[in-house]
């Protein structure tokens, strides 16, 4: 909901519409040109501009007498704050016929000294925003200076002195001053129009910016709330998966265990057909167990519950043992599996069990997606400086001559439950978790995993691992990072 009242809803004051400094310059120019003082007041009597000329000495002299001061204050008060109507001594000015239609509200206020003021209201859209006061000036029609109203203020009043001082006051017919005033009024209207336009638009610009900002903040808040809710749901999902897969594993272990016992004849000899069936139960049970273990792994990674155990380990042994565990599968499928290893290699630091799982996952994938007669290889490089890591490290390359991965899928294959196309689930099985686990574990070591592939020719996964992970402590693996979060901000 929008808050606050817009500038469009309120009345704008004279001082908001006029740039006081430049307006004063304009007034000054007018005063110097026409040699008559100009005062501009807003509707509350606030002074916007006040430029005097010529009358200072004369008025000062009059003001030096107490009665002069009293009468002067009354006249100035009348001019500044008095009604903009024909009362309190004001009368219509003597105008030439052509001026009359434009002289809306113009008044003449005589001063007790015989001088005169002209007042005109500042009208804007039917409102009176203030007034302009011209004067005092010495009206042409003033014959007998000084009048009695002036001379009577004191017995000590020196008419001769007053006459010489009043010489400096502009002498002109009322109509001439009125003409100047109308001219000034037109200029003022133009300035007000420009000023109003500038004031309203700049204010409105600020209001619009603030309001857009408010709208964005509200939207951000809603998105944040939705995001928090989604994160919570995600956490619940992971917790649920962890519990369920744990609960599934327990009875499954019994199923496999008892099948094993049956197969070994512990409950009596089985005939060939029975043995086949029981072995199938075992085999499928193992597959299911692996799948459940993967789900458990990924859900624990996503729930932030996995810790890596870093200790010295032998990378050559790691590769060899991974390869040998794959031998039965490769033999069965008719795929060649070879390991290319350096002759010797120093010990490195890592979580052996997790890294073994990484390599087995990659090799299992490679074998799975490579047709009969194809070739799978795993290469271990020697330790050398790794630009990817900015530290010494080694590489493990797993290559196959399988179906390949489309380039636009390179990122997605590392997401949980993702498979290049859902039909491959049916053809090749699996839950799409292997690579998500690989990525989490490798990154938990401070390493990187990359993929290169050409459709129909094969794929290559490259692991770049540091000799020593950044932290010697057990590292808590957090969910795979898919975006750059505020945690990466420098300040």
């Amino acid at each position: 909901m929008r808050q606050g009242e817009s500038v469009l809803q309120r009345r704008i004051s004279l001082s908001e519409m006029l740039d006081t400094e430049s307006f004063t310059e304009v007034v000054k120019g007018f005063v110097e040109l026409y040699r008559v003082g100009i005062k501009v007041f807003d509707d509350k009597g606030g002074k916007i501009a006040d430029i005097k000329i010529g009358n200072g000495d004369f008025c000062g002299y009059v003001f030096s007498f107490p009665e002069g001061r009293r009468r002067c204050t009354a006249t100035v008060g009348r001019v500044k704050d008095g009604p903009l109507g024909l009362s309190h001594g004001a009368r219509l000015p003597v105008l030439e016929p052509d001026q009359v239609p434009h002289a809306k509200g113009m008044l003449t206020v005589p001063c007790f000294t015989g001088l005169r003021y002209l007042i005109v209201p500042i009208l804007w859209e039917g409102d009176t925003l203030g007034r302009v006061v011209f004067g005092p000036f010495f009206p042409d029609d003033l014959r007998d200076f000084a009048p009695k109203t002036l001379t009577e203020i004191s017995e000590g009043f020196d008419v001769g002195n007053a006459k010489s001082l009043v010489e400096k006051v502009r002498r002109a017919p009322e109509g001439t001053i009125a003409r100047v005033m109308l001219h000034f009024g037109q200029l003022l209207q133009t300035m007000l129009f420009g000023g109003q336009k500038m004031f309203l638009t700049s204010q409105l610009h600020i209001e619009a910016t603030l309001d857009s900002n408010r709208e964005l903040e509200e939207r951000n808040k809603r998105l944040e709330d939705a995001n928090t809710k989604l994160k919570e749901l995600d956490r619940l999902k992971s917790a649920f998966l962890a519990t369920v897969s744990h609960e599934l594993r327990t009875p499954l272990t019994s199923i496999i265990g008892y099948s094993e016992m049956l197969a070994e004849g512990l409950a009596g000899a089985l005939n060939g057909e029975q043995l086949d069936y029981v072995r199938t139960i075992m085999e499928k049970g193992e597959t299911l167990l692996k799948l459940i273990s993967s789900i458990l792994d990924i859900s624990q990674i996503e729930a932030g519950k996995v810790r890596l155990n870093f200790e010295p380990m032998d990378a050559l042994e790691l590769i060899n043992s991974s390869v040998s565990s794959l031998k039965p599968q490769t033999a069965k499928k008719g795929v060649v599996l070879e390991a290319k290893l350096p002759p010797r290699m120093a010990m490195v630091t890592g979580d052996r069990d997790r890294l073994r799982q990484v390599i087995v996952n990659l090799l299992t994938n490679a074998v799975k997606f490579t047709p009969k007669g194809g070739k799978v290889s795993v290469t271990l490089t020697e330790i050398q400086q790794q630009p990817d890591l900015n530290s010494p490290g080694y590489r493990i390359l797993v290559e196959d001559s399988g179906v390949g991965i489309p380039a636009d899928q390179f990122d997605k294959i590392f997401h949980s439950f993702y498979q290049v196309d859902s039909s491959s689930t049916r053809e090749y099985g699996g839950a799409g978790l292997g690579l998500a686990i690989v990525k989490s574990f490798v990154e938990g070591h401070g390493g990187v995993v990359r993929v290169a592939s050409e459709m129909g020719k094969g794929s290559r996964f490259t692991l770049v691992l540091p000799v020593t992970p950044g932290s010697q402590q057990q590292v808590l693996i957090t969910p795979p990072v898919t975006h750059v979060g505020p945690a990466d901000d420098r300040f």
């Binding site: 929008r2 469009l8 809803q9 804007w124 409105l204 209001e207 857009s212």
Partner: protein, 236 residues
């Protein structure tokens, strides 16, 4: 509406709303042209170099009632371009009635709908009750090819309660009729809300007659509605 008893002043706000380039500013320019300078301010417009309204246009029209109440009618337009939504929302604040300027061309239907929804949203944001803020629909650009037929427009009219006025704003056709309709409905809604006739002694007839007293309605439908008088004010 802003009613200031101390200053004896009533301000009525009318907002011309609608899609970009539907003719909102043109409407105001035409009203300006036909209104006598004594009763209106200057037309304030802020446009970009390609004649698109940047903030708003504002045309104030004012008069005094027989009771000596000062009445100001402020006609605003909103900027039509999508990006100026915040400005549209601000200009809409406190509107007493809205003239929705729609483009009659069939191809513009989607835009009209989008801005209609935008108007409803921004009214909600400004706490303007649609039941108390009347809207008049002006079907502008009736002279262009691909324009909807009268029958089609009649269909649209039947879909809601808003009065519909046809217009060719660029030629002044329907502009004053729209203004009349929107002022009339504004008055009626204010009368229902704030009993203007009792509060300040301003009747609907006086309100409309006074506003249009200084607007040249020659050649418009309003000649039949408003009391006969000698033509005055600016010539079109």
């Amino acid at each position: 509406m802003q009613l200031n008893h101390a200053q004896r002043e009533l301000t009525v706000k009318i907002v011309y709303y609608g899609p970009g380039l539907s003719g909102k500013t043109t409407n105001l320019q035409m009203v300006h042209q036909r209104t006598s300078p004594e009763v209106r301010g200057r037309l304030l417009t802020v446009e970009t170099h390609d004649d698109r309204t940047l903030f708003f246009d504002l045309l104030p029209v004012f008069f005094s009632t027989a009771n000596g109440f000062k009445v100001k009618v402020k006609l605003f337009t909103v900027p039509g371009q999508v990006i100026h939504n915040a400005t549209r929302r601000i200009v809409l604040q406190g509107a007493d009635a809205v003239a929705f300027i729609a483009d009659s061309r069939r191809s513009a239907a989607q835009e009209n709908n989008a801005y209609w929804k935008n108007l409803q949203e921004n009214m909600r944001e400004n706490n303007l009750d649609p039941a108390q803020t009347p809207i008049i629909i002006q079907y502008n650009k009736r002279d262009l090819p691909d324009t909807k037929t009268d029958a089609e427009i009649e269909e649209t009219r039947k879909k809601g309660k808003e009065p519909v006025v046809g217009a060719i704003a660029i030629r002044g056709v329907g502009v004053l009729e729209t203004l009349f309709a929107v002022l009339q409905s504004a008055y009626r809604s204010l009368e229902a809300r704030a009993s203007l006739s009792k509060a300040i002694g301003l009747t609907e007839k006086e309100f409309l007659t006074q506003v249009f007293a200084n607007i040249d309605v020659t050649g418009t439908e309003l000649e039949k509605v408003l009391p006969q008088r000698a033509p005055q004010g600016a010539k079109p």
